[in-house]
């Protein structure tokens, strides 16, 4: 039911409401970079059941990856990569970086499932954010990051393993594709972004 209303809501948001859209973009113009993901109108549920938009994350550097919780192959490694990155970055005294795991399976990955997943993977601190969107919102977001994904059966998706780094204005600064590629490069990029 909650999901249903979300879909309806997104339907309204994306449909032709020319005037409200324009007002919005005018308000944002002074403060928002034209390449910022904060312009995405979609709404997301967090693992704690809150509803947010990307612009609510404004001001924090973001490290974003797309996963789904039923995944047994690549995602555990992506998650491990993210945890290692987080460890290395925070060891350099960069504390306000937000690590965002966006589910590509919004039907199954409810806030409750995401919460459990966070718990199972010891990612319960405030630096970890798990997001459930709508199918439409997820596709838009994946397309911003050029992440490919396809549902291959009711449980599994194949998807590209890409870690994206956004600066405090929500502009993408760096992407790393592939697994097990935690190295100084991505850590240094995040630190550089976080220093600005």
């Amino acid at each position: 039911m909650r999901y249903f209303s979300l879909i309806l809501l997104s339907f309204f948001l994306f449909s032709c409401q020319e005037n409200t859209q324009i007002e919005q973009s005018e308000n944002m113009e002074e403060t928002m970079d034209d390449l910022s993901i904060y312009q995405l109108p979609s709404e997301w549920n967090t693992q704690d059941g809150q509803t947010i938009e990307f612009k609510d994350l404004k001001g924090k550097p973001l490290v974003v990856v797309m996963i789904y919780t039923a995944c047994r192959t690549a995602c555990p490694r992506l998650v491990a990569d993210m945890r290692m990155i987080e460890e290395r970055v925070s060891s350099k005294k960069m504390k306000d970086v937000q690590y965002v795991m966006v589910s590509i399976d919004p039907i199954n990955d409810t806030p409750e499932k995401l919460k459990q997943f966070a718990k199972d993977n010891q990612m319960e601190g405030p630096e970890w954010l798990f997001l459930q969107g709508t199918e439409d919102g997820v596709r838009d977001f994946a397309n911003i990051m050029a992440v490919k994904y396809k549902q291959i059966n009711p449980i599994d998706f194949s998807h590209s393993n890409i870690i994206s780094v956004f600066d405090r204005q929500g502009v993408m600064k760096y992407q790393k594709e592939g697994l097990g590629l935690v190295n100084e490069e991505i850590v240094n990029k995040i630190v550089a972004v976080a220093k600005n």
Binding site: E18, L35, I107, A142, N143, K150, E177
Partner: protein, 262 residues
């Protein structure tokens, strides 16, 4: 609460239902085998849907941007469209006069999607597009017809087909025109085509976007044509605005479909 939502949804459906059905063809669903099947299950079911008979033209798109200023070329959000977006237009409101009846191109996925949503429609999925495109003038599925296949490949060899006028080719079995031999077309889930992790490393010229070398292993001529489309899709990003890439819209064929979520 639930009733209210259903009522609102119903209202939406009714208001959309009247939308230009004469400009859309009903495609009866069925099973088809996509070029890149999913696991062991090779057939995919496609439900009934409506598809625009013609690609969206410059005239259509001009009307759209006149009513939706945020999609005019000087206003568009760069996140949603690269610098080539509508770059051949005279100004925000005016498409090139000689192109009005040609398929609109240099339009990003986000813009194409917004256009369709404003018509109460959506972009077709890859499966829907491929399903409708396998029909010749007389048959629903002409993929085994070698002459049909050769004619598609020939059409891919012609230069500047995006300068053709829409609606002059023969309609296919469903009454749909210009799916082949005019422009590549955006699909809703183009980003579900995963051929290689390297696609993002290709050059960013239009010509650099598809690489036929990957067709090794394609079994027949039809696969080759389909391969070119899949390779092209896999190399796209949603903000790309290319001279050879246009779109048309689709719509679910029964309100009951719009209310069920998988």
């Amino acid at each position: 609460m639930r009733k209210l939502i259903l009522l609102m949804a119903g209202f939406f459906l009714i208001s959309n239902a009247s939308a230009q059905n004469n400009q859309m063809a009903l495609i009866e669903g069925g099973n088809y085998t996509p070029l890149y099947g999913v696991g062991e299950q090779s057939e995919t079911a496609v439900g009934d849907f409506y598809l625009d008979k013609l690609p969206v033209t410059y005239a259509d798109f001009q009307e759209f941007v006149r009513n939706h200023s945020k999609w005019q070329k000087s206003n568009v959000t760069k996140l949603f469209a690269d610098s080539r977006y509508l770059s051949n237009w005279e100004n925000d409101l005016k498409a090139p006069a000689n192109l009005m009846d040609k398929p609109v191109t240099m339009v990003s996925w986000f813009a194409a999607k917004a256009y369709c949503e404003c018509q109460g429609k959506r972009l077709p999925t890859v499966d829907e597009w491929e399903y409708a495109a396998m029909a010749s003038t007389s048959k629903r599925d002409s993929r085994s017809d070698s002459l049909y296949n050769v004619s598609i490949l020939r059409s891919y060899e012609q230069p500047k087909t995006y300068m053709k006028t829409v609606g002059n080719s023969e309609a296919n079995y469903w009454g749909v025109q210009d799916m082949h031999g005019m422009v590549w077309e955006w699909t809703q889930d183009f980003n579900s085509i995963i051929l290689t992790g390297e696609s993002r490393n290709n050059g960013n010229t239009d010509a650099g976007l598809f690489c036929a070398a990957g067709a090794i292993g394609a079994k027949d001529m039809m696969n080759y044509a389909a391969f070119m489309r899949f390779a092209m899709r896999s190399s796209l990003k949603a903000n790309f605005s290319l001279t050879t890439l246009g779109f048309r819209c689709a719509k679910d064929a029964g309100p009951q479909n719009q209310l069920t979520f998988k």
